[in-house]
C-alpha cells in the first residue's frame, strides 16, 4: 500500500469487519444462519444488516450509512438474536456463529415504534416547512411504522438557535436526531473533525469547538454532512429567493452557468434512477424559468486547463530548469473550494503549491462581467451571475473577497443541484420531459475534457490530454485508446501515475512567448497523483511532508469530496458509492459521445485568447481576471 490506512475514528466506531481468525479457516469462511426461520449462508463477519439486505429482508436504519463507520446509536435496526438477553443492533452485529435471527417479533416491532415515538417527541418543527419534506428518513420511518399520533408528546418550543453563520452550511439542531452521521462524516470520512457531540443525556447536542458558529471554525464547507443528514438538521444556504427576485426584475440580465455534475445527477431529484445526464433538457428548463443566458461551466473548465496547465509548465520550468527555489512543486489543483479551504486551515505552509488559477466557476464569473458585458454592451452592474454547482463550498467561494476582480462580485450566487431542482419544480416543470436545447453563445461549446472535471481524476485527465499533445506533438489517442486515460479514473482513494515523456515537439504558438522549447522535458517522467475526499488529501499531504513518494510528484489533483464533484455536498440526497459510480458513468458516457475532447482544441477558448486575453495564458490580463491568491488560515480559532 502506498500510504497507511489509519483512520481517526474511535475504535468503537471503526467498521466491524472482523478478520477471519486463522483457526476458523478449517471450518470455512462462511457461516450458515437462520433469518426468520430460513437458512442463509453468509461470509464470516457479515453484519446482520448486510445479511438481511442481501436476502431482501428490510430492516429500518437511521444512524447507519453505507459511507460511514458504524455507530449503533439510533437502535432502530434492532433484531432478536436467539439466546441473547437483549435485542441486538443489526448494523453493528458481526455474524461469527450460526445464530438464529428474528427481524419482526412483537418485541422488535414495539421497540422500533417506541424509538420512533421518542425521536418524534424531541424533533421540533413541522414537515411541511422543512427543506427535506418528502426526502426525510425520519418522516419515511414514521410512515413505515404507521405513526398517526405522538405517543410521548411533541416538543413545542425551539431549543436551539439556527446557525446561519456559514455561507454554505446551515445547522438547525432542533431537527437533529443525534444519529451522529455528520460527526462521523466530518471526522472519519473527511477527517476534518468540526462536529462532535457535547453534553450528556437529554441535553446532548452536536456542536463545534467551543460552540462557535460554523463560520468561525475550521469547517471547509464541503457539505458532506448535509448529504448524509437523515433529517433537515443540516442544509445548504439557499439563495433561490434572491435568484427569483433577479429573474423577476426586468432590469437584470440573469446568467446561469451549469457545471457537469449537477447535470449528471439532477435526474435523481425527479424520480429517475441515478446515471442519466439531462444536460440539454436542463437548458430548456432554465430558459423556461427565465434565465437570460445559459452557459456551460465546461467552457471555463477548458480555460482552466489552459491557465493551470500553462502555470504548471512555467512552474516546472522555473523550478527545474531555472532552479528557482521559491517556485513550489508539486502544483496542486485549486478548483475544489472545499479542498482549498482545507489546505488553508490544515496545511497553510503549502499555500504556494496551490495553482493560482481560479476555479471554472469563478473564471466564468469574471469573464461574464468583463468580456461578455463589453461584447453585449450591458452594464456589468446589471448582470447577475448564478452558478449551478454540485457543491456547497462554491457558495463560500463566490463570497471570497479575492473573487471580485471584474470590479463586481464575479459570481453572485452559487446554487446547488438540489436547490435548482426545487426551482424547477416550483416553476411547474418536469425536467425529464423537457425538449433538448443548446447552450448560448458566445461560449457555446465546451470540450469533453471540461466535462469530466465532474469526476475524480477528471481535471488530471483533461490536463494530461493537453499536456501530452502540446509537449510531445503526439495525438493522445495514439497513447491512450480513445483518449481515455484510464489510470487516473476510478474511485481508488489515491491514484499515482507516471508518464515518461519520450520525444518533444515544437512549442505551440500560444505558449511560445513563455517557453522557448520543450527540450528540458525530454526524457522526463511526469509524475502525477489524484486524491478525492479530504481524508485522502490528508494522507497525500502527510506523505509529501515526510518526503515520501508523492513529494516527487509534479502535479496533484485534489477534490474535497469523495468521488470528486459528482459526490459534492450540493448533490441530490441520498448518496452512496453505487450512486456516485452511476453519476461517473453518466459523465464519462456523455463525454465519449463528443467530438471535441481536448481543452486546447476548443475554438471558443482560442477565440478568447485571440480577441480578449491577448497576452495568452498566464498573461497579464489572465492574471488579473483568472488567477487569484489564498489565505493562510491555520487551525487555531480565536
Amino acid at each position: 500500500m502506498l500510504i497507511n490506512d489509519e483512520s481517526r475514528a474511535p475504535v468503537s466506531q471503526k467498521p466491524n469487519k472482523l478478520e477471519l481468525p486463522a483457526e476458523k479457516e478449517g471450518i470455512g469462511s462462511n457461516v450458515t444462519i437462520e433469518i426468520n426461520g430460513e437458512k442463509v449462508t453468509v461470509p464470516f463477519g457479515t453484519t446482520i444488516l448486510e445479511a438481511c439486505k442481501n436476502n431482501n429482508i428490510h430492516i429500518p436504519t437511521l444512524c447507519h450509512h453505507d459511507d460511514l463507520c458504524i455507530a449503533g446509536v439510533c437502535r432502530i435496526c434492532v433484531v432478536d438474536v436467539e439466546g441473547m438477553k437483549t435485542l441486538q443492533s443489526s448494523c453493528t452485529f458481526p455474524i461469527t456463529a450460526p445464530i438464529k435471527i428474528k427481524t419482526t417479533t412483537p418485541m422488535v416491532r414495539k421497540a422500533r415504534r417506541h424509538i420512533i415515538d421518542l425521536m418524534l417527541s424531541e424533533h421540533f418543527g413541522e414537515c411541511y416547512s422543512c427543506v427535506r419534506n418528502n426526502n426525510c428518513e425520519l418522516q419515511k420511518l414514521a410512515k413505515e411504522y404507521g405513526v398517526d399520533r405522538y405517543n410521548f408528546g411533541h416538543i413545542q418550543k425551539s431549543k436551539y438557535d439556527v446557525d446561519k453563520s456559514s455561507f454554505s452550511v446551515i445547522r438547525d439542531m432542533d431537527k437533529c436526531i443525534l444519529c451522529k452521521r455528520c460527526v462521523r462524516t466530518c471526522i472519519d470520512l473527511q477527517e476534518v473533525g468540526v462536529l462532535e457531540a457535547v453534553n450528556r443525556g437529554i441535553d446532548t447536542t452536536i456542536s463545534t469547538f467551543l460552540d462557535k458558529p460554523l463560520a468561525d471554525v475550521v469547517c471547509i464547507n464541503c457539505g458532506q454532512c448535509i448529504n448524509r443528514c437523515p433529517t433537515g438538521a443540516l442544509h445548504a444556504n439557499d439563495p433561490s429567493d434572491k435568484i427569483w427576485e433577479a429573474i423577476d426584475n426586468p432590469t437584470k440580465h440573469v446568467i446561469i452557468q451549469t457545471a457537469p455534475s449537477p447535470r449528471a445527477a439532477i435526474c435523481e431529484e425527479f424520480g429517475m434512477e441515478p446515471g442519466t445526464s439531462l444536460t440539454r433538457e436542463l437548458n430548456t428548463a432554465l430558459r423556461r424559468i427565465g434565465f437570460d443566458k445559459i452557459f456551460d461551466t465546461n467552457f471555463t473548465a477548458d480555460l482552466t486547463i489552459m491557465e493551470e496547465g500553462t502555470e504548471l509548465i512555467l512552474r516546472l520550468y522555473n523550478a527545474l530548469v531555472e532552479g528557482n527555489a521559491e517556485v513550489k512543486v508539486p502544483q496542486f489543483t485549486s478548483c475544489s473550494p472545499g479542498w482549498v479551504k482545507y489546505l488553508e486551515h490544515f496545511y497553510p505552509e503549502f499555500i504556494d503549491n496551490l495553482s493560482s488559477a481560479k476555479s471554472p466557476q469563478q473564471m466564468f464569473g469574471a469573464l461574464i462581467k468583463t468580456y461578455y458585458a463589453k461584447l453585449q454592451g450591458i452594464d456589468p452592474a446589471d448582470i447577475v451571475t448564478v452558478a449551478v454547482m454540485p457543491c456547497s463550498a462554491k457558495k463560500f467561494e463566490c463570497e471570497r473577497p479575492e473573487m471580485r476582480d471584474s470590479g463586481f462580485k464575479d459570481v453572485d450566487y452559487g446554487l446547488t443541484t438540489r436547490e435548482l431542482a426545487q426551482m424547477i419544480r416550483e416553476a411547474g416543470i418536469h425536467l425529464p420531459e423537457m425538449p433538448k436545447s443548446d447552450f448560448d453563445d458566445p461560449f457555446g461549446e465546451a470540450s469533453g475534457a471540461g466535462l469530466i472535471f465532474g469526476a475524480t481524476g477528471g481535471v488530471m485527465e483533461a490536463a494530461l490530454r493537453s499536456i501530452i499533445e502540446l509537449v510531445t506533438g503526439n495525438k493522445v489517442e495514439n497513447v491512450f485508446q480513445n483518449a481515455k486515460i484510464i489510470p487516473v479514473r476510478g474511485f481508488e482513494g489515491i491514484k499515482y501515475v507516471e508518464f515518461p515523456i519520450e520525444g518533444v515537439a515544437e512549442v505551440p504558438a500560444i505558449l511560445k512567448p513563455l517557453i522557448p522549447d520543450w527540450k528540458w522535458l525530454e526524457g522526463v517522467t511526469l509524475k502525477v497523483a489524484v486524491a478525492h475526499g479530504t481524508a485522502n488529501a490528508k494522507k497525500v499531504m502527510e506523505n509529501i511532508k515526510s518526503g515520501g513518494k508523492l513529494s516527487e510528484c509534479h502535479f496533484i489533483e485534489f477534490m474535497g469530496c469523495p468521488g470528486g464533484c459528482l459526490g459534492g455536498g450540493g448533490q441530490p440526497i441520498p448518496t452512496n458509492a453505487k450512486i456516485r459510480e452511476k453519476r461517473a458513468e453518466a459523465i464519462y458516457a456523455e463525454e465519449e459521445g463528443l467530438t471535441l475532447r481536448k481543452s486546447h482544441e476548443n475554438p471558443y477558448v482560442n477565440h478568447i485568447y485571440a480577441n480578449f486575453l491577448l497576452d495568452g495564458p498566464c498573461g497579464e490580463l489572465s492574471h488579473k481576471l483568472l488567477h487569484t491568491h489564498y489565505t493562510k488560515r491555520g487551525k487555531f480559532i480565536d
Binding site: S12, C74, T92, A111, H114, I115, R200, I202
Partner: protein, 401 residues
C-alpha cells in the same frame, strides 16, 4: 470508615492474607493452573453483571495480540455502593495482587486502575502502595525473579456514571467521550486501544487473590450453586448499622435487614438505582445472581419514605447520567421522569403510565449498554410493587388528555 460497620460473616474476602501471597503463588504455577482454580471457584464478576471471571480471562488469554491489558474498574458509581472504596482503602494488597495475577494469566504487561473522580483523595496512598510493591519486586519487571513483567497505572475518571460500563470506561481511558461501544466485539478481543483487555471489578480482583492462594474449591464452599463464594454488600438507608457486610450469596433480604438492625422496613432496593425494588412480601428473596442479583448495593427504606420520591430521585439520576448516544436511553429516561412528575401532580392517565412501563420494557432490550437496559428497572419494579401507595397518593388519575 469509622461511621460504617463491617460485618465479617466468615472471613473470606477478609480472611488472612499476606501481601504478595497470590503473586508468589501465581509465578510458581502455570497460567493454566490459575485459570483452573478460577474455573473451579465458579466466581462471577462482582460488578453486578455476573459474567464468569474464568471465561473472561480465558478469552483474553486466548486472544492473539502483541499487547494485552488488565483494567480494574474502580469507578464505583452505582448509587448505594461503597464496598470498593472500603477495599481500596483497607485492603489494596488484595486488589493489586489480583490485578498482577490477572496480568500474568492473560499475558498482559500493563494494568490500569480506573478510579472514580470522587475517590481522588485515595490516589496518593494507592500510588504509594504501588511504589512499595515495586520495591518489593511484586510489580515491574521480572516480578519475583520470574519472566513476568507487569505494571499498574492509576487513572482518574471524570465523574460520569456511564464510565462504569466497561466499554465506556475503555473509551474514557483512551481519552474519548465516555460512551459505550458496540458489542460484539467484546473487550476481551478489542479493548483498550483495540487490544484484548480484561476489565474486572475491584472486588473480583480481591476475591481472585484469595482463590489463588486458597483454591477454587475452598471459595466454592460458600454461597449457592450458581452464585459461589461470599459477597460484599454495601448496606445503607433506614437501619441502625449501615456498612460493608461480608455475607455468602444466598442470604435473604430479611436476614440482611436483621443484621443491619432495620425495623419498620417498607422496601429494599437491591442493586442500586439500576436494580429492583422489593416490597415486604418479597423479603424472603435470596441475594444471588439467580434471584435478586446485585453488585452489592442494598438500600433500605422504612415506612416513612415516599416511594414516588425515591423513584424520582433514581430517575433524575439516570436522566443526568445517560451518555446520550442511544435513543432509548437518552429520551426514554427523560420520558419516564416526565411520567413521575405527572404522577406527582396527579395529572396522568393510567393508559399513559402503562405506556411508560411498556416503554421501559423496550428500553431494557433496545438500549445500547447496561445503563439504559437497567435504568427502567426501578421505574417498573416500584410502579408494579407499590402501585397502591403511588396511585393513592396522587389525586386519582385525572384524565388530562
Amino acid at each position: 470508615m469509622e461511621d460504617l460497620e463491617t460485618v465479617k460473616f466468615q472471613p473470606v474476602i477478609f480472611a488472612d492474607y499476606s501481601p504478595g501471597e497470590a503473586i508468589r503463588k501465581a509465578v510458581g504455577i502455570s497460567r493454566q493452573d490459575v485459570l483452573f482454580e478460577l474455573k473451579e471457584s465458579k466466581i462471577k464478576g462482582r460488578g453486578g453483571a455476573g459474567f464468569p471471571t474464568a471465561t473472561k480471562w480465558m478469552l483474553t488469554a486466548a486472544a492473539k495480540a502483541d499487547k494485552k491489558y488488565v483494567v480494574c474498574n474502580a469507578d464505583e458509581g452505582e448509587p448505594g455502593t461503597f464496598k470498593d472504596r472500603f477495599l481500596l482503602l483497607e485492603h489494596p494488597e488484595l486488589v493489586f495482587d489480583g490485578m498482577v495475577v490477572g496480568g500474568i494469566t492473560v499475558g498482559a504487561q500493563k494494568g490500569f486502575v480506573y478510579l472514580r473522580a470522587e475517590y481522588e483523595y485515595m490516589l496518593k496512598s494507592l500510588e504509594d502502595y504501588l511504589q512499595q510493591m515495586k520495591k518489593d519486586n511484586l510489580l515491574g519487571e521480572n516480578i519475583l525473579q520470574s519472566k513476568y513483567n507487569f505494571d499498574i497505572e492509576i487513572r482518574l475518571g471524570s465523574g460520569a456514571y456511564v464510565c462504569g460500563e466497561e466499554t465506556a470506561l475503555i473509551e474514557s481511558l483512551e481519552g474519548h467521550r465516555g460512551e459505550a461501544r458496540n458489542r460484539p466485539p467484546y473487550p476481551v478481543n478489542t479493548g483498550f486501544m483495540g487490544f484484548p483487555t480484561t476489565v474486572n471489578n475491584v472486588e473480583t480482583f480481591a476475591a481472585v487473590s484469595h482463590i489463588i492462594t486458597k483454591g477454587g474449591e475452598w471459595f466454592r464452599n460458600y454461597g449457592t450453586d450458581k452464585s459461589t463464594g461470599i459477597k460484599l454488600f454495601s448496606v445503607s438507608g433506614d437501619c441502625e448499622k449501615p456498612g460493608v457486610y461480608e455475607l455468602p450469596w444466598g442470604t435473604t433480604i430479611s436476614e440482611i435487614l436483621d443484621l443491619a438492625g432495620a425495623s419498620n422496613t417498607k422496601a429494599v432496593q437491591v442493586g442500586g438505582a439500576s436494580g429492583y425494588c422489593y416490597p415486604k412480601t418479597q423479603f424472603d428473596r435470596k441475594l444471588a445472581y439467580e434471584d435478586a442479583g446485585t453488585g452489592g448495593s442494598i438500600m433500605i427504606f422504612n415506612e416513612s419514605r415516599s416511594m414516588l420520591k425515591i423513584l424520582k430521585n433514581f430517575m433524575e439520576f439516570f436522566v443526568e447520567e445517560s451518555c446520550g448516544q442511544c435513543t432509548p436511553c437518552r429520551i426514554g429516561n427523560a420520558k419516564l421522569l416526565d411520567g413521575i412528575e405527572k404522577l406527582e401532580k396527579g395529572e396522568y392517565t393510567f393508559k399513559y403510565i402503562n405506556q411508560l412501563i411498556d416503554l421501559g420494557r423496550s428500553m431494557q432490550v433496545a438500549s445500547k449498554c447496561g445503563l439504559g437496559q437497567t435504568s427502567p428497572n426501578s421505574f417498573i419494579s416500584i410502579l408494579e410493587n407499590f402501585r397502591e401507595e403511588i396511585f393513592a397518593k396522587s389525586s386519582g388519575g385525572r384524565n388530562v388528555n
